[in-house]
């Protein structure tokens, strides 16, 4: 096996081992249908493997993996013409209708219900905001989210502040930074 192929394979192996679960969650943020989601996940893995033939170490493996994954998933959203489905910016999140009701049996809300609420919220966001919220939920620092998206760290910090406010409103999130969340470093 040529040297480049071996390095491509081992990079992919490492990425799949380390970020496999995160990639699965990322696919859930872009596609609700389990069948289509599996195809999307396969596509993400395939693009990831292929991209490692030109991995130049200029950014970390994590940044690389998330960039490729988000770009493939965003391409999926555009191809499926989901942009027509009135996706909103974080700023317009209040316009989202049919979000499972928080007031409804709030105390006894199950994990799956809460997850459904979160997924519905994510699914209605435009790609860029979706990328930021998913990265935030994965607990990434603002600097990494900035590297992935290409937005400035200050801008990411501002977006995260907004995300925290929204999540607090919808989920009664505990105090900022208590759960190893995002640091605007």
């Amino acid at each position: 096996m040529p040297k480049q192929d071996a390095s491509q394979d081992s990079l992919y192996e490492r990425a799949a081992e380390t970020y496999g679960s995160a990639l699965d969650r990322l696919a859930r943020a872009y596609e609700l249908d389990p069948e289509v989601r599996r195809d999307l996940l396969q596509e993400i893995h395939f693009h990831l493997w292929r991209s490692f033939s030109s991995f130049d170490q200029r950014c970390s493996l994590r940044t690389w993996v998330y960039r490729v994954a988000h770009n493939v998933a965003t391409g999926h959203v555009i191809r499926q013409r989901r942009l027509r489905e009135r996706l909103v910016n974080l700023e317009d999140v209040e316009m989202i209708e049919n979000l499972p009701d928080k007031a409804q049996n709030e105390l006894a809300i199950s994990q799956s219900q809460a997850l459904e609420r979160l997924s519905t919220l994510i699914q209605r966001l435009k790609p860029l905001d979706r990328q930021i919220i998913v990265s935030y939920l994965e607990g990434m620092p603002a600097a990494t989210i900035s590297e992935i998206t290409g937005l400035s760290p200050a801008n990411i910090a501002m977006k995260i502040h907004r995300i925290k406010k929204i999540l607090k409103r919808w989920f009664g999130e505990q105090g900022d930074g208590e759960h190893g969340g995002v640091h605007a470093d």
Partner: protein, 212 residues
């Protein structure tokens, strides 16, 4: 099930959701890449073959026009218009085969979109879609195709103009369908372009505002 999963901590909730251990082996991925390349090459071969067959067919029509369409009894202008129409359609068929090759022929390198920041990639993808949609008539060669069809059909229609009712009955339904298709196509295209442009403008404003 009542909450035990810190549902008020979305990060915890998100990260603790059950996931599937999904991984593809390098051999499977390589096989998939080969299969995709093979499929794309086959699609190009098919498109090229259809293009060549159509080119030969129209080319034959162009070269042997006098013998083949003798029974059409066209005047000299109609004769040359229709004959050149076959020539135009032949060239369009060749061009279509070439376009299929340019679009479908697989490259083994990773797409550069994969490696850009997500903001760049998103904007590039939207702009690509908008540009493609804007120039679809030129890119797909549809203008040339319609020109060729018009050149072939017009002389026959002009010949039959002395029997307008018959002409209307012959071409009316096809013409009406064509107009309907064109109207739907143009409306959809306009809507799609407007949506894409709105999104691109928003991204531009965003980039300007935050000097990204």
């Amino acid at each position: 099930m009542p909450t035990e999963f810190h549902n008020n901590d979305p990060q915890n909730l998100w990260q603790s959701q059950p996931t599937e251990a999904f991984k593809m082996s390098a051999d499977t991925l390589r096989l998939k890449a080969q299969r995709m390349e093979k499929k794309a090459r086959l699609a190009v071969v098919w498109a090229a073959a259809i293009g060549i067959v159509l080119f030969l067919w129209f080319g034959w029509g162009f070269l042997r026009f006098a013998e083949t369409f003798q029974s059409f009894r066209l005047g000299p202008v109609g004769f040359w218009t229709m004959r050149l129409g076959f020539g135009v359609l032949g060239l369009w068929a060749l061009y279509s085969g070439y376009k299929a090759y340019r679009i479908l022929w697989p490259t083994s390198a990773a797409s550069d979109t994969d490696l850009k920041t997500t903001l760049q990639a998103y904007r590039q993808e939207l702009e690509k879609r908008r540009d493609y949609s804007q120039n679809i008539w030129l890119r797909s060669g549809l203008i040339v195709c319609f020109l060729g069809i018009a050149m072939v059909v017009t002389p026959v229609m002009a010949r039959d103009i002395r029997q307008p009712l018959q002409l209307l009955l012959n071409v009316g339904p096809i013409f009406a369908l064509f107009i309907l298709w064109l109207a739907i196509f143009l409306l959809q295209r306009k809507r799609r372009q407007r949506k894409l442009q709105q999104e691109i403008d928003q991204l531009r404003e965003f980039q300007k505002e935050y000097r990204v």
